[in-house]
Assembly symmetry: C2
Homo-oligomer: 694 residues x 2
């Protein structure tokens, strides 16, 4: 475990650098005319300590595997991070700070991963960063377990640091994640909570009077408080006290650490300090000038960085290089001693799948009785577990329903947390999120961001709503997270409308960059998992049935030719064709069987219908026009789409002449067969719609 | 404040009734073959105490204004409530229990308001019920303030009781709401937390080891623990201890109360007790028979209710009638003494708006510089505040940005929580939710469920994602909640993609029963608010601009005839017409100005275009076909839709020949004008699309 050095070395130059950081933040916001200066000013000492004195990192190699991770949960205070990246010598110049929040800049309003070197995670929506960091801390432990479970010290030990704000700790998602972090004994996690008692509606006491420290103690955290407002002479930025707290947090190995740092926002701006205005608005030229004077900087100049200051802070590069070199040695020794794990390391780092991995995948014989697609998904996970150690995940307390537990695999849990049903292993792979869907989503993001593993998480499809902010961020950050969302329609039956997704497929398809996959049978489910695992830069959502679905024949069978399930990866394909079809029937998931049945009804009436299974519209849209037209011929205008959800979006597929069999209202509590019947989602409805459309 | 009687009267018949309740629950699940028996069995004493000994309610009048409210936050345990409704003599028969979870039954899988008399709220999605109850407790205080702020005791004092499960306290939304409840000193709220240490993944210790009691103490709650597992002879259901806790909670006037009740799930089933299986599956005939034997019931009979037991429990009707009569007297005295408030009471109870209320609404002169629609919305709220005391709400820490604070109105806050910016009043009307969007959504639902006031809540549109589970439940429950979602597009500018909604309009339109309203200018905003206030059975979402939007002329102006803003209520209307148009341009919100400008560009090229402003697709769909065809003539196939979001759903409007100017990817951090330009959402793009479409 990387640890904080024993003695704080703090000079006048350090203090000057901190003041420089404050003023750079104020100047940058003033230049663009909008942004969030206050926190970046008052937190400058805390962020400077992290980047210059506490964290192990190498500005020359932002992706160094041995680095500590940093998450700015209060993403609105992006300057807190940008300025430190600049001072420490990351690829970030003064010009970048000057172009804050402008088109194409390295310095967008909120930090964006894959965009700004040194930014680990896209933050801004509050609470997410803390939960992401919990995921990173879990990923770090899992990584250690995969590569180097036995040694006392390891190149794979590192810490995760978070800076968080009032908003972050008020959001429920951070509470969920903090509870789980305490449970998981994530000693490698340190959260600094900037308790400045100011948010956008000014004094937080208007809405927030809980005891945050006591709450985190109740979660099982190691909690320290550093109060900079309590000095005899008023506000005093006691960096030594904060340093000591960082050191104590790093020394704590089995509890996550919260450091409550009591600050005054926008310190030391004479008038803007301790105001809501300084949170989210430029301070104004006069106030900035006054602050500069106070700090002994020229009041009439902006973006001032003295040579000795930048020379001093850029020594972070030397320290980074030294730490990196030391790590390389440690890493080399590990490599030599662990050839098998090194091979795994190389494979995972390259995001390569092992040769022949698909051999492990199950296949299913045709069967009318069928298999629920959630069961097929569970089979896939069990089959892949021995082949793909990088694949891990679990459920938000619905493991048995979501079929997310691969057979025979230990849980990722402190062993003393083992229960009668689940064997815990510090480095296990079955995740138990508790009834915390939102934190699950954010933790999955954190795991994917940390790398190199591939996380998945399950709940009922209807509860994707609870996770939605995290799902959006997975899509925005292009993270290869997989959602196992079962009970994907009114097909879940008796639990009724609160548990039956109706609008969810449409609303998830609306998210740019998310693949929504709803396989029609067990073999499509296998093919879908294969396609999802082969993607490394997109999240994917599997929408899986509770109820059994027939397993379709494939190839020539029953006097018909059935499309191959491998075509699932193309997003849509001809499952059952007709010569010169009169109508094309398009369906997803459990409704494909209705299209197949309707085709039979229509055939008896002399109407020839093609059945298209369309498990993933996003994948289909990525095919070339030739393939797309071969599946849904432009000249066949008679089309019917059937899906047990709202019709929103299906007009694009069926066109003006088409018909849509859908559900435009909430469900009800009854057995699923009755619901399909009552709500008119039936083969005969599809056949009637086909007649309408022709 | 209603309070719990001083002495618990507990007889053998009470004990027998409790056992009857357990077995009815087990039998009902067994009959349908699925459901959740365990909690209903072990919580039967707690629920029975509430319905028979603690709560003030009248089974003959489930809507009695003087009743205590009951929320079953763990809705999956619906039998906990259904059985008590049956025993107490609500309109609920044994046959209803026998038809549990079947089509059309009074007893759906989860409790549904407006469906089962005595059910106050639809629950099931975990955590919501606790947060709804916080809203109810706030609504009760506001109601008291509206009708009867001065008296010591009032007919408008009542308590809100909640039964909650592990899942409820694990979900972040309940933590957010609990924090706010402590802050608001909601002494009228009692939450019973069934700490049975079992959830679907069996032993909760696999994911949950925090100290729930200490956490709630940190929120400022009054916390009591009653442990039924700690008896010398093993498990002992000490009803007196629980009763005492209820009484102590009722006596506590300035802190919400949590009672942690340690139980064994499915008690006393000999094998199923304390198992995850008993949470969500039928126990099986043998186990039920064994339980019946244990309790001295005939093992071979189901749904047994002895005559003396039902006679005993039905005395709840007499107690209810007596309490109701006493209340009527108290209410009559209040009525006589408070004629003005009584008039308000009658108006609000009838959901009637005062005569001439629309006179207060502002109107705006045409202006090119324009007004942000969020600002117009704020003007409406300030104008209506004196006229509609039932309208109240606030923001999740974005009041200044969402313009949700009506001028000169006090905050709903304990006075000692006043801040420099906001004056608190115990009965105030400006709500401060803190940075807790999800709890805000659920609290709004609770306020609307409680009645008779009309709540609204604001945040940025992008953070509607955080509230989505609550928004869905508002729609499902047909609650007149209004969302003030500002910063409704990339028009928010520099904060970047994490803050820019792109998919949200589409994904919200997917929710059945939610009206999504995106006004094009200040006058449309006023008309939208009017239409929303006039609706009493649907939630509505206002999507409002951060940036200024031109205020369009109305009627004859500039040589054109502009459609009247009052047509906003019809969902879409012709804003600017053309003789025999070649193309129809449809737009919403801030993009309507682009359609107007494009019309000018097209006119210069000899193309005549009609501009349709479509602020609310749901309202438009509710118009008759004649009106709809008059706005978008079927014979004009050339159409363009423009909206700064994903195109999903717009094909329905523009048809096969139409074109859609949309945004199919996330936004970026820059000023908004640059973004519109870079992303091609411009008047010239609309004009070019019109040419394409013709």
């Amino acid at each position: 475990m990387s640890s904080v050095p024993a003695v704080l070395d703090w000079s006048e130059l350090d203090a000057r650098a901190v003041d420089t950081a404050r003023l750079l933040a104020a100047d940058a916001v003033q230049k663009v005319g909008n942004g969030h200066p206050g926190t970046a000013m008052s937190l400058a000492p805390a962020a400077y300590l992290l980047y210059q004195k506490v964290m192990r990192h190498d500005p020359a190699d932002p992706h160094w595997a041995g680095r500590d991770r940093f998450v700015l949960s209060c993403g609105h205070s992006s300057l807190t991070q940008y300025v430190q990246l600049y001072l420490a010598g990351y690829p970030m110049g003064l010009d970048d700070l000057k172009s804050l929040r402008t088109w194409g800049a390295q310095t967008p309003g909120h930090p964006e991963v894959h965009h700004t070197p040194g930014v680990e995670v896209t933050t801004g929506p509050l609470g997410q960063g803390i939960a992401n960091a919990v995921g990173m801390a879990m990923a770090a432990r899992r990584e250690r377990g995969l590569y180097d479970p036995e040694s006392q010290e390891s190149p794979f030990d590192h810490r995760v640091y978070v800076i968080a704000s009032d908003g972050d700790v008020q959001e429920g998602v951070s509470g969920e994640a903090a509870s789980l972090a305490g449970h998981q004994q994530l000693g490698n996690l340190t959260v600094l909570y900037d308790d400045n008692k100011i948010s956008i509606e000014d004094d937080t006491d208007v809405a927030f009077s809980e005891d945050v420290a006591a709450r985190h103690e109740a979660y099982g955290w190691h909690v320290q408080t550093v109060d900079w407002t309590g000095g005899a002479d008023g506000y005093a930025e006691d960096v030594q006290a904060l340093w000591d707290a960082y050191a104590a947090a790093a020394a704590e190995t089995h509890r996550p650490s919260l450091i409550v740092l009591r600050t005054i926002i926008a310190w030391p701006a004479p008038n803007a300090q301790n105001t809501g205005g300084s949170h989210g608005s430029a301070l104004g030229d006069d106030e900035i000038a006054a602050t500069k004077e106070l700090l002994g900087f020229p009041a009439d100049r902006s973006f001032v960085v003295e040579d000795d200051v930048i020379a001093h802070t850029r020594s972070a590069r030397d320290r980074g290089a030294a730490a990196h070199a030391a790590w390389d040695e440690q890493f080399g020794a590990w490599r030599a001693a662990s050839p098998e794990q090194a091979e795994l390391y190389d494979r995972l780092t390259a995001r390569r799948l092992p040769d022949g991995w698909t051999d492990a995948l199950p296949t299913y014989e045709a069967s009318e009785k069928g298999v629920a697609t959630r069961v097929a998904s569970g089979d896939v996970l069990s089959a892949l577990a021995p082949v793909l150690p990088e694949l891990w995940g679990g459920s938000a307390d619905l493991a048995g329903s979501n079929n997310t537990t691969p057979k025979g695999q230990p849980s990722f849990l402190p062993p003393e947390r083992s229960t009668g049903k689940f064997q815990g292993d510090w480095y296990g792979r079955v995740l138990h999120f508790g009834i915390r869907e939102h934190a699950m989503g954010s933790i999955l993001n954190g795991i994917a961001l940390h790398g190199p593993t591939r996380p998945y998480g399950g709940t009922f499809l209807v509860f994707s709503d609870y996770m939605r902010p995290a799902v959006r961020l997975a899509a925005l950050q292009q993270l290869p997270v997989t959602y196992v969302w079962t009970h994907d329609s009114i097909g879940l039956g008796e639990d009724g409308p609160t548990h039956q997704p109706v609008e969810h497929l449409a609303s998830l398809r609306a998210i740019p960059g998310l693949d929504v996959v709803r396989p029609a049978d067990a073999n499509e489910t296998v093919a879908a998992w294969q396609a999802v695992v082969e993607q490394t830069e997109r999240p994917a959502a599997l929408a899986l049935s509770r109820q059994n679905l027939p397993v379709f024949p494939r190839g020539d069978a029953d006097g018909e030719t059935w499309g191959d399930a491998s075509l699932t990866a193309r997003g849509a394909y001809v499952l059952l064709d007709a010569d010169d079809p009169d109508v094309v029937l398009v369906a997803t998931g459990s409704e494909v069987q209705l299209a197949v049945e309707a085709r039979g009804l229509l055939a008896a009436e002399g109407v020839s219908a093609r059945v298209v299974s369309m498990p993933c519209r996003e994948w289909f849209e990525r095919q070339d026009a030739g393939y797309r037209d071969s599946v849904i011929p432009p000249q066949v205008r008679a089309r019917v789409a059937v899906e047990a959800g709202v019709s929103l979006g299906w007009r694009d597929v069926v066109g003006d002449a088409g018909r849509i069999i859908s559900l435009e209202h909430f469900g009800a509590s009854a057995d699923f067969a009755r619901l399909y019947d009552e709500f008119g989602i039936t083969a005969s409805a599809v056949a009637a719609a086909a007649h309408d459309s022709i």
